[in-house]
Every structure is written in structure tokens, then in C-alpha cells.
Amino acid sequence: MFKDIKQIKTTRRTVLGAALGLGVAAGFGGLSRAFAADDIAVGAIYDLTGGLNIYGIQQSRAMHLAVDAINAKGGLLGRKLNVIESDSQSELPKFTQYANTLILRNKIQVLFAGLTSSAREAMRPIVREKKVPYFYSALYEGGACDKQTFITGASASQQMSVLIEWAIKKYGPKIYIMAPDYNFGTISAHWVETYAKQLGGEVLGSDFLPLTVTDYAPTIQKIQAAKPNFVVTLPVGANQTGFLEQFAAAGLKKQMGIVSTNYGSGNQQVVVSPDAGEGIVASQEYFMWIEGAGNDAFKALWKAKYGLDEPIISEAASTWNAVNLWAIAVEKAGSTENDKVIAALESGLTFEGPNGLVTLQPKSHHLKQNIYIVQGNRDHGFDVIKTYESVAPSFEDEKCDLIANPATAEAFTP
């Protein structure tokens, strides 16, 4: 979608070669020569096509927006940033392939890539071995801990701690969990249980749903039988928004609250009908509707380039923060050398992003940032109802200390 004109010209010559595969594809080598020698090569891999491009396109847009803004101010260290972007097509093996290619061929200095945890996990060993700082900007289940990996999205515990506190206060202590049946769901459910216990709540039951389910009647019946005060729902993928419709249609919204940490992160509030979406409470590090100078400036830039037909998602803001944090670190290090940049990134950097002030935690490589509690309205949008300022990624801070143990390469699970 957004590609460098020079890149296209070079590539066109290799059309035939590529089609024939191995032998002739060696012409790709010519690509890197198209760029000026002192440009800083910035690698990006997002899902521009396929099922995940709901997220991937916005991540890519935010990344380009940030890079353009930096280049407009003269680049970094007097050098222009040059984005080399690959489309991972929502296919996991492409991440491995393109990450290696960008590093080996294009000699990228930094990598911004990926939406899913599996994509991050696939690239984490590669950047570790090749020593390229890597930024992952999506909300996720938490726990990733690796020297070259930096995470600008919120982790599950970070969001859940404030959400459960708020919800128990608002609705009462009895909780039911509806979660997708994979890592994100099961780990998030664990955090619900943990915080519920801490705060005097009680989890009455939980149902884990495969991503291909379209019929939520059994879940809804079980919720009715359990009679909770509120339901924690973590719909993943477009299909699971059907749960919200069926939940509302069965008349359950009048009887109990419904809260989520990921509702809205893929613009689900646009998909669900006003009846189903109104009143759903969500908690994330960014919503387009939050107030603040940083967000206004960000939205203005975004609107000028892409328009605002589709609400900006939290992953976009996280990507913007990622690029800017890296840029600050490069300026501070005065070099793009890996050791120096990592050292700068681990120096407690702060940045005033669209979602307020964020702090890059030196030990855990996660962000301390605001978490917003919002409530769905009838216009496919949200109203902000509470801001928790500077929420620390406590689980990651506790488990992960990359300054003391730089060799750690783990995805911690609670």
C-alpha cells in the first residue's frame, strides 16, 4: 500500500526472475543499492492483506506517519529514515521469512512488526540472534521478556488490574468469563481470577470459545444460570462480536454489566449494532475519544493523511509511540549501533504520546502508561469514564529484569 517509488522501479526489473524462482531471483540483491548509503533502514512487517489487516493497515499507517514526521524534521542524526516494508499477508511463516530477509538483505537498524503474539514469538529469536531492536505494538497477554524486544502495547495484567477493580466497585463481586480458547484468553482469565481474589470478587464460571463458534446460545444459558454481576468478555476476531449481539438480544444487558480488555482494539464497536454495543465497558491504553493535546495533534495528522472514516485503534497509537521512543533513543545514543541504542532505550525514556505520558521500563521493556476505562455509546464510539494514570506493567516488571539478566529469552506465563 505504501511503498517507495524507487523500490517499485527496481523490482519491476526482477518480475520475470521472481516468477522463475531461485536462480534469477538473485536480482533482488539490487534492491538495497537503490537507497542512499547513509539512510537509516527501518524495517516493518505488518498484515496489510488477509484477515488481520484490520489491525495491520493501521499499524502500518501509524508507522509511516511517525517516520514521515521525523523525516520532515530532518531525520535522525542528520540521516533520513528509509522504510522497507513487507506484507506478511496474515500468514505466520511470512514473519520469519521477511524478518530474516529485511535483516540479511536490507540491513535494517530497527524492526516494527507484528500483531499477534505468535508473530512476535516467531520473530523474537531472530532479532535476538541478529541483534536488531524490535518493537511490538499490540495489546497482548503479557510476559514477553527478551533483550532486543520492546513492547508498547498494554499487557493483560496491566489492563485487567484496573478494569476488575473498577467493575467490582461498579457492579459487584460476582464474575463470569467468556474468553477465546487460546493463550490470550486463558492467560487473561487467569488475571481476572487473580485480581478478583485480591479485590474480594468471585469468578462463578468461565467458558472458553473456539474462534469458529457462531452460536453462543450455550454460553448465554450458562451465564444466565450463574447469575453474575458482570461478564468479562474478550471477543477475538470478527465472529466473536456475534456473542455481543446474542447477549444483548437475550436481554442480559439489563441484568448484568459487560466488560472487556480488547473490545474496541479492532474497532469491534463499529461492527456491533448500537443496541449491543451501548454500555459495554472496555479498558485499553488508547481510545480515539480520549482528550488531550497529544491525541488532538495525533488525530489531526492522521486525518490529514488518511481521513477518519475508520476510528483509530490502540495498536496505531502504540506503533506511533514505538517509532518515537526508538527515535529518541537513537538521538540520545548518537548512533544506530545496537548496544548504544539498547542502552539508551533502557535509560528510562519517556514520551508524550497520543495517550499521554508513557515511560519505557528499563528492566521489563514494557511501557508504564495510562489505562482508560470507556463505555460504548450508540454512535459506534466510546465515552471515556475514567483514566488510571501511569499504570505499571506489574507482572512484567516483577518477572523480567533484562538489565540484571540480559540473556533472558522467555515468554513468562503466570
Partner: protein, 288 residues
């Protein structure tokens, strides 16, 4: 276990089966009458859902939008049959691959045209109370839709000229062509009928399952299995297989977990296929 819970589970298992049957009939008709498996079936459902969505949002009542969606998808199916399927008769596996290619194209086109998120239309906020439980009226309505749909299809295939000819054509294609039945035209109509049913399914389920480019995928696995388990006797087989598998999965999910419900669905399928490799109706005499 309270009696009201049992009643609700019974009702919802019937609605689950109805949803499965509604989503499967189009595939079953094409498979039963033409011997072709349309791997793009899920995307045809999606096609119908988007058509209904667009029509509804232009101000047309939903009930009419559903009809429009079915017709538009049928027309699209007719074109697909003329342009692609027709050239592949007798090349069963190639047809599979071509329709799979079509599913990719439809999916990506939907992403391009509608973007990844489009507002849904929502379900009617009315429900029926049974003891301590409520069940959405629209889901109950779908149960009625499934029954009417099956009866209408039965009428279409037994009482109309097209139906009689189409069934004659599967029973003996040589004789059919000998007595001057133009099998090409019949096939176009059958494929259009199957596509129309898929479009109808997408449209009628739209309130409960929002339109997204990938929505078809959620239906196809179970729809394929239902058709294969059903075997050659299109209508009865689909109703039986869909009813059995759909409600069994629902009941297990209601008393245990949704994952268990899914596992039961797949295990039952495997078991049935081992017992009846060519479908439960493979040895039946009736043809519908």
C-alpha cells in the same frame, strides 16, 4: 437441574441445528444435485450478508433485503457457474480448487470494498422468558425459518418442473440428455439455487452474525462435514445430519464447555463417516 434450564437447552439446541441447516442447505443442494462441492460456499454466505447489509442501510426493510440478497447471490452464482464451473465438469478435484481460488478472491474483494469493519444491523431486542431464563426471539424465529426453508425446498424439488427435471438429471444423466433435458441450463439453475440459499443464509443470520469478510469461514467447516455426513439424499440427509450434529454439540456445550461441544461434533462426524463412508443416506432409496 431445573426443568426450565432443560427446556431452554432443548430449545436452543433446536435453534443451533436450525442455524446449521440454514447455513448448509445451499452447499447440500449443489453437492446433491450436481456432485460439485463449492469451497467458496462460506464466501457466498458472506456475499449474501453484505448484500443484505448494503440494501438495509439504503433504507429498505430488512425482510425485503433478505430476499434481494438471496436473488443477487443466486445471480452471482449463475454467473460463476457459466464462467468457471461449467468448464470443469467431470474434473471434480479441479472444481474444488477453482472454487477455493474463488473464495480467496471474494474474501479479499470484500476486504477491499467494505474495509475490515462495517457496522452491523443488530438483533431485535426482544426475548422470550422461560422460568429464570430468556432466549432471544430472533433465534427462535430462525427455527421457524429453517422449517419453512426445508419445506419450500421440498416443494421446489418435487412439485415444480425445474425440480423434477433436476432430480431426473442426477438419477440418470444419460437418459436425461436423451429425452432432451438441457443439462447445462439445469446446472446453472441448480448452482444459482444453491448460491441463493447461501446468500439467504448470510442475510437471515446477519443480525446474529455480523458481516465481516471472514465470516464465512466460521460456517464452512461444519457445513462441509454436515454435507458429507448427510450423503446423497440432499434434503432429508441434511436435515438429519444437521439436526443430529448441531443439537448434540449444543447440548454438550450447554452442560459442559463449548470446546467439548466442538469436539463432540467432530468425533461424531468421524464415527459416522467410519460407519457410513458415503454418508448416512448412501443406501437409501429416496432421493430427497
Amino acid at each position: 437441574m431445573e426443568i426450565d434450564y432443560l427446556l431452554v437447552v432443548l430449545l436452543s439446541s433446536l435453534t443451533s441445528a436450525s442455524v446449521l441447516i440454514i447455513a448448509t442447505l445451499g452447499l447440500a443442494v449443489i453437492f446433491g444435485l450436481m456432485g460439485v462441492v463449492n469451497l467458496a460456499h462460506g464466501e457466498f454466505i458472506m456475499f449474501g450478508a453484505y448484500t443484505a447489509l448494503v440494501v438495509t442501510r439504503s433504507g429498505v426493510p430488512f425482510s425485503i433485503a433478505v430476499i434481494v440478497a438471496a436473488l443477487v447471490t443466486a445471480l452471482f452464482g449463475a454467473i460463476v457457474e457459466r464462467v468457471i464451473i461449467r468448464r470443469l465438469y467431470g474434473r471434480l478435484l479441479d472444481t474444488l480448487l477453482a472454487t477455493w481460488g474463488l473464495s480467496l478472491v471474494l474474501y479479499q474483494s470484500a476486504v477491499l470494498i467494505f474495509g475490515s469493519v462495517t457496522p452491523g444491523i443488530g438483533m431485535p431486542q426482544s426475548n422470550v422468558r422461560i422460568g429464570d431464563y430468556t432466549i432471544s426471539s430472533y433465534m427462535l424465529f430462525l427455527l421457524g425459518v429453517a422449517i419453512v426453508l426445508v419445506l419450500a425446498l421440498y416443494w421446489l424439488l418435487t412439485k415444480t418442473g425445474y425440480g423434477i427435471v433436476a432430480r431426473a438429471a442426477i438419477q440418470d444423466s444419460e437418459t436425461a440428455s436423451a429425452i432432451g433435458i438441457e443439462s447445462g441450463r439445469i446446472n446453472t439453475m441448480t448452482f444459482a439455487l444453491g448460491s441463493g440459499l447461501a446468500g439467504f443464509a448470510g442475510a437471515i443470520l446477519l443480525p446474529a452474525v455480523p458481516a465481516t469478510p471472514g465470516m464465512g469461514f466460521a460456517f464452512v467447516i461444519k457445513a462441509f462435514l454436515t454435507v458429507v455426513v448427510a450423503g446423497p439424499v440432499t434434503l432429508t440427509g441434511t436435515v438429519l445430519a444437521g439436526g443430529l450434529l448441531g443439537s448434540a454439540a449444543n447440548i454438550v456445550a450447554s452442560f459442559w464447555t463449548t470446546v467439548a461441544g466442538n469436539i463432540v461434533f467432530f468425533m461424531l462426524t468421524m464415527g459416522l463417516l467410519r460407519l457410513y463412508p458415503n454418508g448416512i443416506t448412501a443406501r437409501w432409496n429416496r432421493k430427497l
